[in-house]
Symmetry: C2
Amino acid sequence: MLQTKNIHHLKEVTNAALFDGEPDSLQALFKRQPIEHLAAGQSLFFEGDIAKHLFEVVEGSLRIFKIISDGRRVITGFLHAGDIVGVSLKNHYLYSAEAIVDVRVRRLVRKTFEAEIARCPDLRPEVFSHLCDEMAAAQDQMVLLSCKNAEERVCTFLRKQIKRGSGLQGNGVLVELPMTRLDIADYLGLTIETVSRTMTKLTQRGILCSVGRHAVQVMKYGVLAQLSGDDEYYSDERAQISYAGANHH
Amino acid sequence: MLQTKNIHHLKEVTNAALFDGEPDSLQALFKRQPIEHLAAGQSLFFEGDIAKHLFEVVEGSLRIFKIISDGRRVITGFLHAGDIVGVSLKNHYLYSAEAIVDVRVRRLVRKTFEAEIARCPDLRPEVFSHLCDEMAAAQDQMVLLSCKNAEERVCTFLRKQIKRGSGLQGNGVLVELPMTRLDIADYLGLTIETVSRTMTKLTQRGILCSVGRHAVQVMKYGVLAQLSGDDEYYSDERAQISYAGANHH
DNA sequence: CGCATGCTTGAATTTAATCAACCCTAGTGG
DNA sequence: CCACTAGGGTTGATTAAATTCAAGCATGCG
């Protein structure tokens, strides 16, 4: 493994007899677990390691990625507060996870998680739903990587950040981008230069407005949506700021 | 929807009281279902439709794909005999499925499937395992689409076909390619011309040997594996024909 | 036999990658 | 507190890879 920093020195936590009542969500399973801290750049786990734990992200953002033979990195996703990682795994982690900024997580032993799911049938639909969402996200990413040009990729990415940010979509919304340009590039299958150039062009066209390194303001949400290449025909009524409810389907 | 052909005229089958004993595999759930036939080119279901049924492919091959706004098609995978489709779905199909050649399938109502899973705890690990495999395949595809060049994509694809074909990997193995070049192109995120040129070059280099339109013989498996860009360090002992057991992990 | 479809091959074009230089800024230490 | 520095980011010129456009070839089916 390439990285040197990790948190394997943290003591193992055993998760015996944790719940009096029935947990009502997957997140609830993590409630009793102590919070662990990860500094920016530290690894949570490595691709190929035995998947002993699941994690809930309490605060901060992480990247999940694979390293391929020639050393290149593919970022398959980002994790943010509220996300749970490790559900769709058998024995080994399929990817590495690394903190982008300082992060707080809770950890749950897999066996405990599985036992709780077995014990609480009400949680099973939520696990299943989680897996389906992961699958749908993976499919969307395949579409992006298969078909979309640089501009469409960047716009799609920005829209995704908007959706999982304030929930507000419309003109004037601020989009936080905790990750670096290299992270974005490795996520979108582009180079850092192409990402930079594309963002510059969007700024020049008045669609974006740069706010430091780690945020942009979306000045023309409608145009951004158009450029993302995802056909959604209800362009006009959502052009102004509106609250994005549960992800439709 | 663009396609005109479909099999919606087939009568609805209700799946009441099907099993005396415990089914011992997901495939077993389909055993009692009548076989339905699909001619090449016919659709099994469409992206966006309510996902009422799951299917087991008994014979033949299908493509699963999405159509994006500008009409382009992304093939997210192929299905072959023994495969089950529809497990990782909530209410709607995430993609369309179309027969590549004449196909035989068995159909199971989702609710029946879910009831059987609820009734037979032994099947749950198999469902979970299925979902994880789907996820892992999606991740591999993301890596391919993110990083790999045309040659690596084609070689990766051919290796995949080899693995799910005879199970034999080595020199002289025949690879069946029931799908068209356009299917392969849409699956690999390339154009038909690039696929064709790449295959031609591999043939010129003596790595492949064309056997009609829908098959190739692999003359130098080792080289093909190298060119696929997936680092697997055990090159030498598997260079000769050997049986590929269960997918390691 | 003749057509249509799928496939191959070639030339020109386009997009993004690569190579290279420079800028900005956040963080460091004097 | 300010200057310096390193890393991340931007911009420009060139190159490479795959796409696009165009033509021709094979194969399978009526």
